[in-house]
């Protein structure tokens, strides 16, 4: 029996960003040889805490004790050399190299004279696999492996660094049920060797299956650590959700008209599987689920950004054969994409150019623009949404996050959409801007626009939506009508594994 001792102690950690207190006096203790689940909603501070541990952020205050010694890592590399490794959600193996090369990258065994001892490397790698009972061939190219296997290799790599503490960020978010079982078996084997695991996850079932202790963060505050035996599902959700719903949301009668848009048996890759739903005139239809449940992918395939493999999209009861974004726009379906930086705005161009971009083809005559009219339209629309910019020629880059978000809304509202898809429209913006965006959404719905509202923030999705569809693992897991919506129900549907 290994004596239980505390391997990692983070004491009174605080970290502020301009305008946000990301971590507020968080203290957490992890015991050696246990699987410790770290839970919380999006933005609760889990990743910030881990970044502080790895030295990617400097904490404003607080101290970290690893194996009883105070540590302050300056880089990930330093943390790794002390025996702490992290398996990230987005893996980045060197795809063209073999498994063994990936495991030993940067520290290849050398022959005398400095040449790499390939034989020794493959032998050493095979030894590790044998020891852990894994059946990989060290010579397999990384690109031939599935995500789950790449993850295993990453863990192996961490262990080969003599890792004592392995942190896994959402390790099960993109792998199948069978693979999850395989991973968990491996985690249990690690536990037997006194290796400590911190697992960051949203999936409650998995927490109950694998972890020994659970710590919960909420809004940057430490809520508590409990043994898994002391908790049931409902109590855990309560810990995560906790807060009262006290913000003001614009009121809207929960009534809507006939069917406007109908999606039937939509398929597009592993994250969009047999999606069917209806959207009504004047309805705000919420799409809830954990990050990676396939909501963004679903919306992208409806909007024509990703080509769907099958499925029908009907508007006013007729199949409209959408193939491209331009097709969708022509049918008055528009989508404000999730990320301002990646596909929302052209940051190095002006406010005006960004606002006008999608509607240029409608307003230009044989491709020639009417600059005067354009300026008037852009001015009117940016005033309507209260975009704060010093002028219309200001580069979009200089606007704050909230104003950039409004800019995206501006450009799509100019198209007079009948279906407005909003993917996380309030992510990373402050309360005031959020409130203005809610108002715009509700106003549009009152005018009969069908709004699809994708959000990971419970509070807003519950208060804004007329109806909520909950997605999990690429499927729609359930539908909740206004009145019966509670956070607990959404959480349950969002974390239930599809069978």
């Amino acid at each position: 029996m290994i004596p239980i001792s505390t391997i990692l102690k983070m004491r009174n950690i605080s970290k502020s960003f301009p305008g946000v207190k990301a971590l507020d006096n968080v203290s957490i203790e992890v015991e050696q040889g246990t699987v410790h689940a770290l839970m919380g909603e999006n933005g609760a501070g889990k990743s910030t805490l881990m970044k502080v541990l790895f030295g990617q952020y400097a904490a404003d205050s607080g101290e970290i004790l690893f194996e009883g010694q105070p540590v302050r890592f300056k880089s990930v590399k330093e943390a790794v050399s002390h025996g702490i490794s992290m398996i990230y959600q987005e893996l980045s193996p060197i795809r063209e190299l073999s498994i063994a090369e990936n495991v030993f990258v940067g520290r290849y065994p050398k022959l005398k004279g400095g040449a790499i001892d390939w034989r020794a490397m493959y032998v050493a790698c095979q030894e590790i696999f044998d020891r852990w009972g894994l059946s990989y061939d060290p010579r397999t190219k990384m690109k031939q492996l599935k995500t789950a296997d790449v993850q295993m290799i990453e863990i192996i790599k961490a262990i080969s660094f003599q890792a004592k503490l392995v942190i896994m960020d959402e390790p099960t978010s993109s792998i199948s049920q069978n693979e999850v079982e395989k991973l968990f078996t491996f985690i249990r084997a690690l536990k037997k060797e006194a290796i400590t695991i911190i697992i960051i996850t949203h999936k409650l079932d998995e927490v109950f299956e694998i972890s020994d202790r659970v710590s919960v963060l909420r809004d940057g505050k430490f809520i508590g650590t409990k043994g898994i035996g002391e908790l049931n599902r409902a109590q855990m959700i309560k810990m995560m959700v906790g807060r009262e719903m006290n913000s003001v949301f614009p009121k809207k009668e929960s009534s809507y008209g006939n069917v406007l848009l109908e999606v039937r048996h939509l398929n597009c890759g592993p994250k969009v599987q047999d999606i069917s739903f209806e959207l009504h005139f004047g309805e705000i239809l919420g799409f809830a689920g954990i990050v990676g449940a396939g909501r963004t992918e679903t919306m992208r395939s409806i909007f024509g950004l990703d080509r769907r493999s099958s499925g029908e999209i009907l508007m006013d009861g007729e199949e409209i054969g959408l193939q491209s974004v331009r097709d969708a726009i022509k049918h008055d379906i528009v989508m404000a994409t999730e990320s301002r930086k990646d596909d929302g705005l052209v940051l190095c161009r002006s406010v005006e150019e960004n606002i006008m971009l999608p509607s240029l083809y409608r307003r230009s005559k044989c491709g020639v623009l009417n600059l005067g009219e354009e300026r008037r339209i852009a001015e009117k629309s940016s005033k309507k949404l209260k975009v704060k910019a010093s002028s219309l020629s200001t580069m979009a880059n200089f606007l704050s996050g909230g104003n950039q978000q409004k800019l995206i809304l501006c450009k799509w509202l100019l198209m007079n959409p009948r279906v407005l898809i909003l993917d996380e429209p309030t992510r990373g913006i402050d309360v005031g801007a959020k409130w203005e965006i809610y108002n715009i959404i509700v106003d549009l719905a009152k005018q009969g626009v069908g709004v699809i509202f994708v959000s990971s923030e419970m509070e807003e999705i519950i208060n804004i939506s007329d109806r909520i569809l909950v997605m999990c693992d690429g499927h729609i897991n359930g539908c909740l009508q206004k009145g019966e919506i509670t956070q607990e129900k959404i959480m349950n549907l969002a974390s239930e594994v599809w069978s």
């Binding site: 491209s324 596909d343 052209v346 999608p358």
Partner: protein, 326 residues
């Protein structure tokens, strides 16, 4: 206080990216005037303008490509090829019109090949156009039989060498082409799309722009521009030169980048690129006037390129880094 400073840094960078090259031009003029008394003479300035005329035409197309996130290294070969085609067709048919037409079509086809592979197949434009650079150069030699073909029609020669009321025709053409390009880049949807695609192709696609088609079109236009430059080049030399046009694409790129066009796409304008071309021309001219050794001239030019690229990176970073992280 700190914030104000960083804001000031941004506005300087922004100003530079818009007008910095004008400042450089003025400095170059002053330095030239100091170093060589004959520099400011009208005849000298006109000869500078004539020397850079063909580069300027190519720079218009190159700027459009850089703005749209592309590049064309085959431009010089394309120019040589089209000049040869013009000479061959003219000498065998006697028709100027036919020669010009075939040269422009050939340019467009080469552009279309570049565009097809860069856009629809998704290969790196750098590599694609490097490949066409060699291929087209080879074809130019093959068609010409390895030697220059002398004699193009008088009207083509007039385009390259003639004067209209004492004003060089070539310069007039550059002026007209610049105006046309400015119009296209600022007042047509195609121009806007190119800026958007270069700035953020994903956002452009998500805004309903047919990104691949626009990029393809951009290369085709570049091909036509090279064909046109080839005609002017043939006019200037009164021949089709299979060995000509070497490094013209780099002259165009240096001018564009010096003019504040970003190699990373999305920023820049045609007028500044043309000014950049003139700056490079002036530097060459001044070095010639001061009879600086040709090898040293190359060294200086290399340094100019480095400075231009540094300025590009500096301005772009200064502008984009001010992104507020929230």
């Amino acid at each position: 206080m700190k914030k104000q400073n960083s804001l000031r840094g941004v506005s300087i960078a922004e100003l530079y990216s818009k007008f910095g090259v004008v400042l450089i031009l003025i400095v170059a003029l002053i330095v030239g005037a100091i170093l060589s008394p004959s520099f400011l003479m009208l005849s000298n300035l006109v000869s500078v303008a004539k020397n850079v005329g063909v580069y300027a035409i190519i720079a218009i197309g190159m700027t459009r490509l850089l703005i749209g996130g592309g590049v064309d290294l085959s431009a010089g070969s394309n120019v040589a090829f089209c000049s040869v085609v013009l000479a061959v067709v003219y000498n065998s048919t006697g028709s100027t019109f036919l020669g010009v037409l075939v040269a422009l079509v050939c340019g467009a086809v080469i552009g279309a090949i570049n565009g097809f592979f860069s856009s629809y197949i998704g290969l790196m434009p750098f590599i694609v156009t490097l490949a066409t650079q060699m291929t087209v150069r080879g074809l130019a030699y093959l068609i010409a039989g390895g030697a220059p073909i002398y004699g193009v029609s008088d009207s083509v020669v007039f385009l390259g060498q003639g004067n209209v009321g004492g004003f060089p025709m070539l310069l007039l053409i550059v002026l007209l082409c610049t105006c046309l390009a400015v119009f296209v880049m600022t007042r047509t949807s195609h121009g806007r799309y190119l800026y958007a695609i270069g700035g953020n192709p994903e956002a452009a696609r998500a805004s309903g722009i047919n990104v691949k088609w626009q990029i393809f079109l951009n290369y085709v236009v570049m091909g036509v521009i090279c064909g046109f430059a080839g005609i002017l080049y043939a006019g200037r030399t009164n021949s089709g030169l299979p060995a000509g046009g070497v490094n013209f694409e780099f002259e165009a790129i240096i001018g564009s980048v010096l003019g504040g066009t970003s190699m990373a796409g999305g920023l820049g304008n045609v007028v500044c690129s043309i000014v950049g071309i003139f700056v490079v021309g002036i530097i060459n001219n001044v070095m010639n006037l001061c009879s600086i050794n040709a090898f040293w001239q190359q060294v200086v030019k290399g340094i100019v390129i480095l400075i231009a690229v540094l300025l590009d990176v500096f301005t772009r970073n200064a502008i984009m880094k001010s992104t507020r992280k929230r």
